[in-house]
């Protein structure tokens, strides 16, 4: 058990009366990369949202721990402090809140949680500079409001920049590749790889093999109708690319 980073057992969740996740099991160990694939609407973003503590969802059963800490009992902010990071499929624009203030609040909140002193202004700026370089984020974006007026690709780059700043134990990247041009994809994936260590882990949610050429998964899972219906190695992604989801759907639906 000790070297399990994320442990999800029988997780059920939904919105209002609608059940979306219908019993998810997932084990992620340090150093691993997991890919989650699956048709539109199968529950991938819901799973990320539930793990990150999105209050729109109600958990109706099961459990989820991060390094043995019960995630489901924690506020979203404490889940972040404990080392969980979600790169949003649709990053949110926050007019009037500058990127700088946003990141300073995030960094210092985590430091406070860890009983560390806040960073000085110069330390903070230095850190911002270093982390920006990892994903080659344009300096002028940093002085704007959070995600406001960012292009689709800039928003995704900004997500990975935030990940670089927060240095999570477990990062969930929800379709971080969508909206990226070919060069940006390489840069962003390169950034994710640079942040990878033996002690952290990544879950990438994607529809395309393309991203997995850069971020090589150890495991590939297929999520369908709120369940992980099939798991395998990297070759599973290639197979999906070739055959689509119909064979999976057929197998699952015939069992239902």
């Amino acid at each position: 058990m000790e070297d399990i980073l994320l442990n999800v057992r029988g997780l059920r969740a939904g919105i209002d009366d609608k059940e979306i996740l219908r019993g998810i099991d997932l084990t992620v160990r340090p150093g691993e990369v997991h890919a989650i694939m699956g048709p539109n609407g199968s529950g991938k973003s819901t799973l990320s949202g539930v793990l990150a503590g999105d209050p729109r969802f109600t958990v109706t059963g099961g459990e989820a721990t991060l390094s043995g800490v019960n995630l489901l009992d924690l506020s979203p902010e404490d889940r972040s402090h404990e080392g969980l990071f979600l790169s949003f499929q649709y990053p949110v624009e926050i007019p009037g809140v500058s990127m700088v203030n946003f990141m300073r609040a995030a960094v210092n909140a985590k430091r406070k949680y860890l009983h560390q002193d806040p960073l000085s202004a110069s330390e903070f700026l230095k850190m911002m500079r270093q982390k920006r370089a990892i994903v080659e984020l344009d300096n002028k974006l940093a002085s704007r409001s959070v995600n406001e007026g960012f292009s689709g690709g800039e928003k995704k780059r900004n997500e990975i920049f935030q990940m670089a700043v927060l240095e999570p134990k477990l990062a969930i990247l929800d379709e971080t590749d969508s909206g990226l041009d070919i060069d940006a994809l390489r840069i962003v994936a390169g950034g994710v790889n640079k942040l990878k260590t033996e002690r952290n882990a990544t879950i990438v949610i994607t529809h395309y093999q393309r991203l997995l050429d850069y971020i090589r998964p150890d495991f590939v899972h297929i999520l369908y109708k709120g369940r992980i219906v099939h798991s395998g190695g990297p070759e599973l992604a290639l197979e999906l690319e070739e055959r689509g989801y119909d064979w999976i759907k057929d197998t699952v639906d015939s069992k239902d």
């Binding site: 999105d54 506020s75 990071f85 949003f88 926050i94 009037g96 809140v97 946003f102 609040a105 995030a106």
Partner: protein, 445 residues
């Protein structure tokens, strides 16, 4: 008994004393005001354009009125901390309803600037007082007429033609009541042709838990090509009620801008009446209010476009928490003659609690085809997606909410053109939103 009656009786009994302690120019208008008040009553909650507040109730307590002009005790050193860092101002203080110049005011008074009590101005500028005093406010409503009936002194600002004043004029209104008191506050501003100045005003109440009421009338004349900015910040107390009415007359090519901020108050009603007396005027009214506990903040605006090619813009924003209530009734009138008017009005509100209430109503009366007019009002909550996004980055909920509220107000604050004041307003709003009393950093008031 109607609460107005007690003040009329007070006047009837003490007219001689009231007049003895006031200049003739003010006394002259009293009989007219009295005649009008005989048939008047204060608006009550539920009356037209009074959805949230009852003026009648605000005047109902048995307030003392300082008709003998006794000096009110006040900690003057405390007021000195009330400055905005990094700007030096020409400072005057109104204690209760009495103007007191700061020690340095005389010395620093620039050429072409007069900033003194109305009583003094009645001696130094009798023809100006004669010409302008009461011209905009008389007969407008019961509270304005009551002000004229009882006002014994006030503040006078005169900027001579073509004079641009670099240093802002600053006026600090203070209550330090030992017993319930009503202050009749009166301000007359005359900006001659081409004059350019700005005024910072703040309202404070030093003693908490003693009810007080300020009934304020401000008359502002902005001459041709002149420019005047009025920044008004109220941070009084739960027990302070305020009825403040600003009447503005703008001549051709003039510019008037208002920022009215209510950070802390008991009950507040602000009326803003702006009329254009010539073409190509520009008017900007911005305001923000933060309501908590059972505070009530009520802003009413009326901008009258009577001449061509003028613009007006109104932006008012409220954040209401707890059981607080807010109201914004904004009126734009465009006369048939006011061709090429460009008038915009926005009112956005956040209800931070389920018990808070907001009343909003834009009213456009457009009697001319060739105009651009727009208005919009929204009442909502903080953006839940933004809140979760911030929390997912580790920002605690309370802090995230604060940042979002601050962001919500930022476009109003950013209209403030004095850098140091803008920074100060950001800080004050932040302090207020974080639940602290929004006092200036080291202010003892």
């Amino acid at each position: 008994m109607d609460s107005l009656t007690q003040y009329i009786r007070l006047y009837d009994e003490h007219a001689a004393t009231i007049c003895a302690h006031a200049p003739e120019a003010l006394n002259r208008l009293r009989p007219h005001a009295l005649a009008r008040l005989a048939a008047a009553r204060f608006p009550r909650k539920g009356d037209k354009s009074y959805p949230a507040i009852s003026i009648d109730e605000m005047f109902a307590p048995d307030f003392g009125v300082n008709i003998n002009r006794m000096a009110m005790p006040v900690d003057m050193t405390a007021t000195m901390h009330c400055g905005v860092p990094n700007i030096s101002t020409l400072l005057g203080v109104v204690v209760g309803d009495t103007f007191r110049p700061s020690a340095s005011l005389e010395r620093n008074m620039p050429e072409g600037v007069t900033f003194c009590s109305l009583a003094r101005a009645a001696e130094t500028h009798p023809e100006i007082i004669e010409k302008y005093y009461g011209r905009l406010a008389s007969g407008r409503n019961a509270a304005a007429d009551l002000n004229t009936l009882l006002a014994q002194d006030g503040v006078f600002i005169h900027i001579a033609a073509g004079t641009a004043v670099d240093r802002p004029l600053q006026l600090i209104n203070i209550f330090n009541p030992t017993a319930p008191v009503m202050a009749t506050r009166r301000v007359l501003v005359v900006m001659e042709q081409g004059a350019d100045a700005r005024a910072l005003v703040c309202d404070h109440t030093q003693e908490r838990n003693v009810p007080c009421l300020s009934n304020q009338v401000i008359e502002i004349f902005v001459g041709e090509n002149a420019r005047f900015d009025w920044y008004d910040l109220e941070e009084s107390s739960d027990d302070t009620a305020r009825v403040s009415q600003l009447f503005v007359d703008q001549q051709a090519h003039s510019r008037f801008s208002l920022n009215g901020t209510t950070l802390m108050a008991g009950r507040t009603r602000n009326n803003y009446f702006i009329d254009h007396s010539g073409p190509s005027c520009s008017t900007r009214l911005t305001g923000m209010a933060i309501g908590m506990a059972d505070q009530v903040v009520d802003n009413f605006t009326c901008v009258g476009h009577h001449f061509p090619e003028s613009t007006s813009e109104q932006i008012f924003k409220y954040i209401l928490d707890d059981q607080s209530q807010g109201s914004f009734y904004g009126t734009v009138i465009v006369d048939e003659a006011a061709r090429f008017t460009d008038a915009r009005q926005t009112n956005r509100n956040i209800l931070a609690s389920a018990d808070a209430r907001m009343y909003t109503r834009p009213r456009l009366e457009i009697n001319c085809d060739e105009v651009k007019c727009s208005h919009g009002a929204t009442v909502g909550q903080l953006d839940a997606n933004a809140l979760f996004y911030m929390r997912s980055r580790g920002i605690p909920e309370a802090e995230a909410k604060m940042m979002l509220m601050q962001a919500f107000m930022s476009d109003v604050i950013d209209t403030v053109e004095i850098d140091a004041l803008r920074t100060r307003l950001h800080q004050l709003v932040e302090r207020r939103l974080s639940g602290e009393a929004a006092r200036c950093a080291d202010c003892k008031i």
